[in-house]
Amino acid sequence: MRTDRAEEIIRQKITALETTEDDTSVDTGKLWEALHRQSNKNISRKKQFAFYWAAAAIVLIIIAIGFLLLPAQVNYNDTLATTEPTDTSAAIFCTIETTNEEAFSSEYLDPPGMYAMPADAMICYNTNIPDTILSD
């Protein structure tokens, strides 16, 4: 409880003035419109912010997937290096572009089963290739 009577009078008068205030120079309609514009602007800012975050997240996911796939490919190439054929007359030096083992086929290779890899993923750069492979 405040003991200063003058303070109490000031508080009561100002509170009453603010409660009953009807200043005709204040255009509440205009202020309401401004409030609307401001909140719409904030909403579109929020949308813009969400869009940028989503775009950044997608880019990060793509980069992460790239990093995950890279070691798998390197490992396969390492394995491939150990299975190089000894018969260089019909050798095919290949690199692989997929790790999908179900797609692997060795039926056209010489000797068959020597090194398994998907036939459609092979990039071959030895010209001494048997016709049985090229004709298919």
């Binding site: 008068k13 100002i14 603010e18 204040v26 202020l31 309401w32 401001q38």
Partner: protein, 178 residues
Amino acid sequence: MSEASIIANCKKGDRIAQKTLFDAYAKGMLLLCRRYVRDKEDAEEVLLNGFQKFFATIERFEYSGDNSIGGWLKKIMVNECFMFLRKNRNITFVEEEFAENITLDEEVFEKMNAGIILQLINALPDGYRMVFNLYVIEGYNHREIATLLNISEGGSKSQLNRAKAFLQKRLVNKQIVL
């Protein structure tokens, strides 16, 4: 429509109810904002930010009688005013103790028109005005003011007494017409 049902409709996002509430309180709240932020356009900016916060957080508001909306709005507006002033003005508070304990002349204020009292308050320097408004009109205690303004309790008391001395001096100098 009662205030309770206006609040209930506002919670549902009803624009008409929101506008009814805005029309009822905007002028009074603008006056409150101008007690802290003197410039009219700045005060209007603070008012709009305050109402935006009010509508954004209305879900948490529990209607508990006639003065509850006004009370809640006042708290939001005062906070908005401080955020605005902190961001835009560099207000310094004199922390030195002000030995004299000033008592305002109640008879003078009893006779005085509310509009003139408001003019007197608005003429106070920024630091004095903030403490005076918070203590005398909003009813904060010195500890709350000290926390809000990041000053000591003694600093808050000192600012209040300096504000009162300033008002008294203006009254004595008869700069205010009764």
